[in-house]
Amino acid sequence: MTTETLVIILLTLKVASVAILVVVVPATILGYLLARYDFRGKNIVSGLVGLPLVLPPTAVGFLLLRLLAVDGPLGSDAIGFDLGFLLTWKGAVLASGIMAAPLVVRTARVTFEGINPRLEMMARTLGHGRLSTFLNYSLPLARRGLLAGVILGFTRALGEFGATVTIAGNIPGRTQTLASAIFSAQQAGENKQAYSLMIIAMVMGFIAIVISEVLSRGRGQYGPSR
């Protein structure tokens, strides 16, 4: 494996990992709120969060680009300093995080909806406040579904191309990830490089799927851990 390929792999893993770490906590909380509470504008929140799933990734990338451009509402002209997302690895994190978030929120929401809310009420009658109930009962009860959502989001971030390439570009060694490297190799007619990158992508995806399978089967139906 060339140093060049290794750099691509490491950058891809770094971008996807940071993206999922940033996304997981707010996405889980949002999934819980959507599952448990009725509030004004709930459908709008739910729709906005799901939007990246249905939009072309390049549209999401273009929207981010306009927001973050020097003359955009979040650009240096408006807020006085540069947020540093354009053409950087942080931009790739932002783009893949936004594209992965809906999957994590949705899985979390469905998982929490599958947990009997009366179990949480039970915890409260035993003296646990809302936060303690969430941390000690809701989260552990939901852990397998949440992990599945995280892996799903991580694999989505690994393969993100359209939005990432729009705001972070495709700069070898700086913002080029597996997805954009395969595209470049194919465009340049370097089929050998494209093949090897594709195989690496397949192996990484396969490992993620196996891990999620193992996690979901590791413990039977909440049986004792023996």
Binding site: R118, L126, G129, P140, P224
Partner: protein, 380 residues
């Protein structure tokens, strides 16, 4: 009849609440200082909603709720379930499936310690009284229905509650199993000095456990009072399970004879001047001295206005009529065996009352076949 001396004084529970439900409005108002207050009624009468209101799970409830000096609900106050110091045992147990039995029992530890309870002692006592030690390391999904409910009861007690709220804790179980769990509740009643609200539609549980009874119908209090008197009210009688009403009397075994048990009614620890009342029961249960409950279905008791001779039935008891009530062609005669024993309800037809000339204060004889009586373990 479950009196123990000296009786501690229980915190006063004041309930005056309103809650709109789908089919009717729950409007309940009562005060109680009994150790076990029963809430009785057909399904859909608002029993569970009342209990959920007491536990703080119904945020839309309005009115007043107080336990002792603590206000849970008033016009400006709403305490959440975590601040009410209650132990709630729902019908379906609701054990935490990600924890073992032991860990389930420990889920209220923090609260118990914070309210000054000796958690470890209570836990040990709960494990012993509810016979949980073989289950402690088991996962929840491996437990049977009866085991789950015992764990749920134990978990509530371990959290050091000031009030136990039991929502038909054994209703989901089949009848024989339910009867086997009755002694556990009775032991809890005697061993842990915690007042309880017991929601049930089982007259046997009511008579065996409750000191005070509230009957709900369509969200309103229909009748309230001493459990046996309330149950023999024709309005309530018809709400009982399947209309088969069983009188439940505390008794103890005197031993066995030819495969039948001889029991003496009443509590042997309470002295009273009344002559002992003994019955023959064709089912052997318990050893001499064991505390039991005797069950006699109300329609299995015959009334004679003169002492009959040459009877095949083995129990002939003198009694005195307390009251007569009739509704829908069914007559209910309540009778007293002795002053210290709870009254019995006897189901007859309305015509029997007139043809036998039954009236209050009439001295009569009760004829009861040994095979009509059932014995239940009272658990201590």
């Amino acid at each position: 009849m479950n009196e123990r001396t000296p009786q501690p004084s229980w915190d006063r529970l004041l309930v005056d609440v309103e809650l709109s439900l789908d089919r009717f409005k729950l409007e309940v108002s009562f005060e109680t200082q009994s150790q076990v207050t029963g809430v009785f009624g057909a399904s859909g009468s608002g029993k569970t909603s009342l209990l959920e209101t007491l536990s703080g799970l119904r945020k839309k409830a309005k009115g007043t709720l107080q336990l002792g000096d603590e206000t849970w609900l008033s016009s400006g106050t709403f305490l959440g379930p975590e601040d009410r110091n209650i132990g709630y045992v729902p019908q379906e147990g609701l054990l935490f499936p990600h924890l073992t039995v032991q860990r389930n029992l420990e889920t209220g530890k923090k609260r118990a310690l914070a309210s000054g309870h000796d958690f470890e002692t209570t836990l040990a006592q709960v494990v012993e009284i509810l016979e949980l030690s073989p289950l402690l390391n088991r996962g929840i999904t491996t437990l049977s229905g009866g085991e789950r409910q015992r764990v749920a009861l134990g978990r509530a007690i371990c959290s050091g509650p000031r009030l136990l709220l039991l929502d038909e804790p054994f209703a989901s179980l089949d009848l024989p199993l339910r009867r086997r769990l009755l002694p556990f509740l009775n032991r809890v009643r005697h061993e842990f000095q915690i007042p309880m609200i017991l929601v049930t539609h089982d007259p046997i549980e009511v008579q065996a456990l409750c000191d005070d009874l509230i009957v709900l119908k369509s969200g309103k209090v229909l009748v309230r009072g001493e459990p046996r008197r309330v149950l023999s009210d024709p309005k309530v009688f018809s709400l009982a399970d399947r209309s088969e009403f069983e009188n439940i009397l505390p008794c103890h075994s005197l031993g066995q004879e030819n495969g039948a048990s001889i029991v003496e009614l009443g509590d042997p620890t309470i002295r009273n001047p009344d002559p002992p009342v003994r019955l023959v029961v064709t089912r052997s249960e318990g050893n001499p001295g064991d505390r039991l409950f005797l069950g006699i279905p109300s329609h299995e008791i015959m009334i004679a206005t003169q002492k009959p001779v040459g009877l095949s039935a083995r129990n002939l008891l003198p009694a005195r009529i307390l009251s007569l009530k009739a509704e829908d062609a069914v007559g209910i005669v309540t009778v007293s065996l002795t002053k210290s024993l709870p009254p019995l309800a006897i189901e007859v037809t309305e015509t029997t009352i007139s043809s036998l000339g039954l009236q209050p204060d009439l001295e009569i004889f009760l004829v009861i076949k040994a095979a009509s009586c059932r014995l239940y373990n009272a658990g201590n």
